[in-house]
């Protein structure tokens, strides 16, 4: 795993079609941590599934899945689009690129009505904090002396994360493995995991199955079928189990067969850089700002046309 790299590097992302990259199925030796996360999340979406995705990383993962191993998956966004094939990174939940090839352009209530009806297979959400039962907080960090009304940090709020965790077939959570993020006591429960343990979701009659996988910048976690407690499924390359344990406030269960998270292939990395040519999401850089309006517009347009060409070539 590498840190910041030159986007014009050897991945081939910016030279011709990403599908033309040499040795596409080989592990990439040049990828960022964020790219590893995006690829790991994308692989959670199976071909043919209805995938309910939000902004940022989760949308990028959905788009990547659709352009790689899951061409028949269908992306659902909460603002009202279904089936779109966004030719590039999506900047907002109503990004007009979501209209591209979309089969349905409807409204937010309709999407969540369908979600509550149990029509969507997998959702991907973000969170600021999580506990061992997979309950998440994306509303407030109260700190020792704060409260909901007067928090230390005000986070964006639920968005669709509460609704997805309540009703989607299964949910993937993507978040950063910061200190106090994997906590024994959430400051606020925004989205329901397994609440206080086995049977709790059933008591509320939730339509969805709850959290299935948690993906962070250090590791991948699953949930025990019996106890509903989180366990460590794999660590990312270069991270060992103890490092992860230190970043978790409770006594973390570890899979007997804990593995190393598979790294992205060269094709996946190349495709990601085509989707996000200005590094808006993947590298979290200011490049979009630094390059100025004209170069930004040219880069966006060039990459859209490239992706559309890939689709046409299929």
């Amino acid at each position: 795993m590498t840190g910041e790299t030159d986007p014009e590097g050897d991945s081939g992302a910016t030279n011709g079609s990403p599908l033309d990259v040499a040795n596409p199925d080989e592990p990439a030796d040049d990828y960022s941590l964020t790219e590893l996360l995006a690829v790991t999340a994308a692989r959670e979406i199976d071909d043919g599934e209805m995938a309910f995705i939000g902004v940022g990383m989760s949308l990028i993962s959905g788009v990547l899945a659709k352009y790689t191993h899951a061409p028949r998956c269908q992306l659902v966004t909460e603002s009202g689009y279904v089936g779109s094939r966004p030719p590039g990174v999506v900047q907002s939940i109503s990004d007009s690129v979501l209209g591209v090839d979309s089969l349905v352009a409807t409204d937010q209530m309709q999407i969540f009505v369908d979600n509550q009806r149990g029509l969507f297979d997998v959702g991907i959400i973000g969170a600021g904090q999580i506990d061992k039962y997979g309950n998440t907080n994306s509303t407030v960090v109260t700190g020792a002396e704060g409260s909901y009304e007067n928090p230390k940090v005000r986070l964006p709020g639920s968005g669709g994360s509460n609704d997805i965790m309540t009703s989607c077939g299964r949910t993937i959570v993507m978040m950063r493995q910061r200190a106090r993020a994997f906590t024994s006591e959430l400051d606020y429960v925004t989205a329901p995991g397994y609440l206080d343990g086995p049977g709790a979701r059933e008591e509320f009659g939730f339509p969805g199955g709850g959290p299935e996988t948690v993906i962070t910048d250090m590791a991948v976690f699953g949930f025990d079928e019996e106890t509903k407690e989180m366990y460590l499924r794999s660590t990312h390359p270069g991270i060992d189990v103890e490092e992860v344990r230190e970043m978790v406030q409770w006594d973390l269960n570890v899979d007997d067969d804990v593995e190393t998270t598979p790294v992205p292939t060269r094709r996946e990395v190349a495709m990601l850089r085509t989707i996000d040519p200005t590094d808006t999401v993947l590298r979290d850089t200011d490049r979009i700002y630094e390059i100025g309006f004209d170069e930004w517009a040219d880069t966006m347009e060039r990459n859209w046309k490239r992706l559309m060409q890939i689709e046409e070539d299929k």
């Binding site: 209209g99 309540t166 709790a200 009659g205 999401v281 700002y289 347009e301």
Partner: protein, 302 residues
């Protein structure tokens, strides 16, 4: 009343007529088709004590909070989407700068349903969302009720939202307020019905004959509308599906400059100007390039 008179106004008059200090407001769009020009006009007219009753809100809300227009927010999500946090929102909630902002959370579905309940004139609509979490716990307006049909399952009763004003930006509308929405509708068709008063800003005023050619796209009917304003590029720096792509660099600059409160004041001085002046400052070439980008993506859809 059907009110089939000419409802066109200038942006300045629409805001001064229909948005008094202290009003509760719902804005349309969601990171696309947001009524950014209308929100800038609200800031320009120095409205205060507003209550924003809404779904997920991005730049326009953050700027209004930073300018001191807003006292309270009821909704599902605040930030400025992908490339920056909502710095003004955080400053207001965490530090009371420039003043305290009271937050009342719902989920996204909850926000749709509160407008739906308002639109259909019932006190509440039930859902399974928000149960078992602190959203229902901390939002005093949400009641957890038992299924009256005896299933034993609890339900979250989402109370009706009936904002004073809904402000919605669309691609085209006629002079009576019949508005076509291309692409996604988000919650806009619900907000105009829940609100007492509705202002439509649009890229283009079209004849009613154009509306009648695609009546399926009339998501907002004239009988819910009080004011119609033609505002080209009224969603800039956001997207307007079929018209122009989002101006991400402009938006990114907002994200960077709003990190610091003084710097944000400079941003306000620079950009809170009458809409025509705003567009001149952005520049015709830049606007044309955004139209061209959208044409490449969704060309021919409108």
């Amino acid at each position: 009343m059907s009110d089939t008179h000419d409802k066109t106004q200038t942006l300045q008059t629409a805001i001064s007529d229909h948005v008094p200090d202290g009003a509760s407001i719902a804005f349309g769009g969601m990171g696309g088709r947001d009524p950014e020009a209308a929100a800038r006009e609200i800031i320009r007219q120095e409205k205060t004590g507003l209550r924003v009753v809404d779904d997920a809100r991005t730049t326009l809300f953050d700027a209004m909070v930073g300018a001191g227009c807003v006292d309270e927010y009821v909704g599902s999500w605040v930030g400025t989407s992908l490339i920056s946090q909502g710095h003004n929102v955080r400053r207001a909630v965490e530090e009371g700068v420039p003043k305290d902002l009271t937050m009342q959370d719902v989920s996204n579905f909850g926000s749709s349903l509160m407008f739906f309940a308002g639109a259909m004139n019932v006190p509440f609509v039930p859902t399974r969302s928000m149960l078992g979490t602190d959203i229902a716990e901390h939002n005093d307006d949400i009641e957890v009720i038992d299924d009256p049909f005896g299933s034993g399952e609890p339900l979250a009763a989402v109370p009706a939202a009936t904002p004073d004003v809904a402000i919605i930006h669309v691609q085209q509308a006629d002079r009576h307020g019949n508005a076509h929405i291309y692409g996604n509708t988000v919650n806009d068709h619900l907000k105009v019905r829940a609100a007492d008063t509705t202002i439509i800003t649009c890229e283009e005023i079209v004849p009613s004959e154009t509306i009648a050619e695609s009546p399926e796209l009339t998501k907002i009917p004239f009988y819910t509308v009080d004011s119609v304003v033609e505002v080209p590029f009224g969603s800039h720096p956001w997207h307007c599906y079929g018209h122009y792509y989002a101006d991400l660099p402009f938006y990114r600059e907002y994200g960077l400059r709003s990190q610091d409160y003084d710097e944000f004041q400079d941003w306000l001085d620079e950009w809170i100007v009458p809409h025509e002046e705003y567009l001149e400052k952005v520049g015709a070439d830049r606007l044309a390039r955004l139209e061209e980008l959208e044409q490449t993506i969704n060309g021919g859809k409108i």
